[in-house]
């Protein structure tokens, strides 16, 4: 199937599809632990600067993506405040690399992931966690054995949403890592590029079909999994 797909698409298109999947996969996976922690902190903890954290997390949802991309460039670009240090001390460069595309996608998808997980954390009955405590479970164990299983549907929903958002991210990505075929050209950037040249519509259309298919598959998969988990948690 992959071979047929690769044949049907041109080499540049195929590279964009593979890159998009890779970028979205790593963006989602790497931000998941931080997403769960942030969602839990916002739902449960009271600490100074909570509203600031809440604002920063949600900022990419409201800002024009180009602004987010430019901010990333300012901070994490090769000459950026943090980027300089990463480059000189650790030899890590994010700008104009696929890892930078993954970072941009992760930042843009993060608010969606956190919102979904936070809702599910708020829905957990804290009395169940207290009961687990009286039975001898320490806080970390309560989290692993009670909270985490109960918020699994929310984590799943957040993950799928984040993945879909990462697949479609355009503005921040193209600003931060540009549009280098094979390097940073994801599906949206590729569609944009094809539309700039005469006769590129056909390739663009093929990529649109791939986009729609992946999005639909992700939605159906999340529905099926969510229903299965909910049934297990509700118990019958």
């Amino acid at each position: 199937m992959w071979n047929d797909l690769a044949h049907w698409l041109g080499p540049a298109e195929w590279a964009a599809v593979r890159l998009s999947i890779r970028v979205s996969f790593w963006a989602t996976l790497a931000s998941l632990p931080l997403g769960i922690l942030t969602a839990y902190a916002l739902a449960r903890w009271e600490f100074p600067g909570k509203q600031v954290l809440n604002g920063v997390v949600h900022l990419p949802l409201i800002l024009p993506p180009v602004v987010t991309g430019y901010l990333l460039l300012l901070v994490l670009g090769r000459r950026g405040y943090v980027g300089q240090v990463l480059d000189q001390w650790f030899g890590i460069v994010l700008s104009f690399r696929w890892t930078g595309a993954a970072l941009a996608a992760a930042v843009m998808a993060f608010p969606l992931m956190v919102r979904a997980i936070r809702l599910s954390v708020e829905a957990v009955d804290t009395k169940l966690e207290a009961a687990a405590g009286t039975l001898g479970a320490s806080r970390p164990w309560v989290f692993v054995t009670v909270t985490l299983p109960l918020i699994l549907p929310g984590i799943l929903a957040g993950t799928i949403l984040a993945f879909a958002k990462a697949m479609g991210e355009f503005g921040a990505t193209i600003t931060f890592v540009s549009n280098i075929p094979g390097q940073t050209q994801t599906i949206p950037s590729a569609i944009y590029a094809f539309l700039q040249v005469p006769g590129g519509q056909e390739a663009a259309t093929r990529l649109v079909i791939v986009s729609v298919t992946i999005a639909m598959a992700a939605l159906v998969l999340s529905e099926v999994l969510a229903r299965r988990i909910t049934r297990r948690v509700a118990g019958s």
């Binding site: 009955d125 009395k127 169940l128 207290a130 009961a131 687990a132 405590g133 009286t134 039975l135 001898g136 479970a137 320490s138 806080r139 164990w141 309560v142 054995t145 009670v146 299983p149 109960l150 297990r232 948690v233 509700a234 118990g235 019958s236």
Partner: protein, 368 residues
């Protein structure tokens, strides 16, 4: 092991100020809602941090504000049975039961799974999820879960309050077995005097955050200061003698025979009966030609003025060290017309149907 509770805690207008020691056995924290029972039991569990005080089970200190000692809940080795069960919905009944054992120290000697399953009759439920259980079944599993955590102390916060009468009657015997067969002290919160009469080995009565009475169920239930004049009841010990074909069961008490609607317990079973003071009628002479079957002779101990036109008369039934008390609430007018005074002989009349099934429980073997 006795449980020492000394604490002060403020929540807005409400102030809890308690200093009592609960003896070993099943102690009922008794009082109307808002009296501080749950606050107290949550402080023992570590779910609430009192402003100041000391809580110790035997010589094992759970908290002491003087030395800034405070054990978190998971290190207190408790079994807490909550009002709403609080079973983990994502785990099977078996996994729920074994949850606490997993965290208990390997050296802890708890009950075995097979014994708990047998004792609570939950064998057929093991592979189900809590969502598929009835209220009574959930509560039985919750008791088993608490028991299997190998606790040093069992806490129960109104574990029957969310159940209907039939389910209450289903669960109460399990707490009786817990009291009689498991050597772990139990602190049991309740606002029901029927549960006090059936379960308690001792009672701490709370009102507005303070202890108003403490003692045996008979002492506290007979105390009008703790119960209010309308709530006073007596606890009589009895033993099943025989079941008769006309649908009545014959019981033996210190003052004679009682006949009650057929009971399920076999002859020889010791029982505790809770008899509300308002259900008792008094007569100077032994009445004849009366529909009531249960007439117990006794002596008037004292008379107390109660609320409104009522008088609380306490009788002594039987004699010597086996004597028991029976309270009757009658009007002042009848007390005067009968010329009741301490020392007089009197007959107490109790209707057979005055005792609800929840008022009749298994007696504590060593008392029975």
């Amino acid at each position: 092991m006795s449980l020492h509770l000394h604490l002060r805690h403020r929540i807005g207008e409400f102030a809890l100020d308690v200093d009592v020691t609960a003896p070993p056995g099943l102690t009922v924290l008794f009082g109307p809602s808002g009296s501080g029972k749950t606050t107290l039991v949550n402080a023992v569990a570590g779910l609430l941090r009192p402003d100041e005080g000391r809580i110790a089970a035997g010589d094992w200190v759970l908290m002491d504000s003087a030395t800034r000692l405070w054990l978190p809940p998971h290190r207190r080795r408790l079994g807490y049975v909550f009002q709403e069960g609080r079973l983990f919905p994502h785990l099977s009944v078996r996994q729920n039961l074994l949850y606490g054992r997993w965290f208990a120290p390997r050296t802890a000697r708890g009950e075995s799974l097979s014994r708990v399953i047998e004792m609570l009759g939950i064998g057929p439920l093991l592979d189900r999820r809590p969502g598929a259980l009835s209220g009574g079944e959930k509560q039985r599993v919750a008791i088993g879960r608490a028991l299997l955590a190998a606790p040093r102390l069992i806490l129960a916060d109104e574990p029957l309050a969310a159940l209907d009468e039939a389910r209450k009657a289903e669960i109460l015997p399990y707490f009786e077995r817990l009291r009689d067969e498991v050597a772990v002290p139990i602190l049991y919160v309740s606002h029901s005097s029927a549960e006090v009469a059936r379960l308690a080995t001792s009672v701490i009565a709370l009102r507005n955050g303070r202890v108003v009475a403490m003692g045996t169920p008979a002492q506290v239930l007979g105390d009008s200061a703790a119960m209010g004049a309308r709530g006073v009841a007596s606890v009589l010990r009895a033993r099943v003698v025989a079941h008769h074909p006309d649908g009545l069961s014959e019981l033996d008490t210190v003052a004679g025979r009682l006949w009650l609607p057929r009971l399920p317990q076999p002859p020889g079973t010791p029982l505790r009966l809770r008899i509300g003071a308002s259900e008792v009628i008094l007569s100077r002479a032994r009445p004849t030609g009366l529909s009531a079957l249960n007439i117990l002779p006794g002596q008037v101990l004292d008379l107390h003025d109660g609320e409104g036109p009522g008088v609380l008369v306490t009788l002594s039934l039987g004699d010597g060290s086996f004597a028991e008390r029976l309270a009757a609430r009658i009007t002042r007018r009848s007390a005067e017309a009968m010329g009741l005074a301490p020392g007089q002989t009197c007959h107490a009349i109790i209707k057979s149907v005055a005792l609800a099934p929840l008022d009749i429980g298994a007696g504590v073997p060593d008392l029975g």
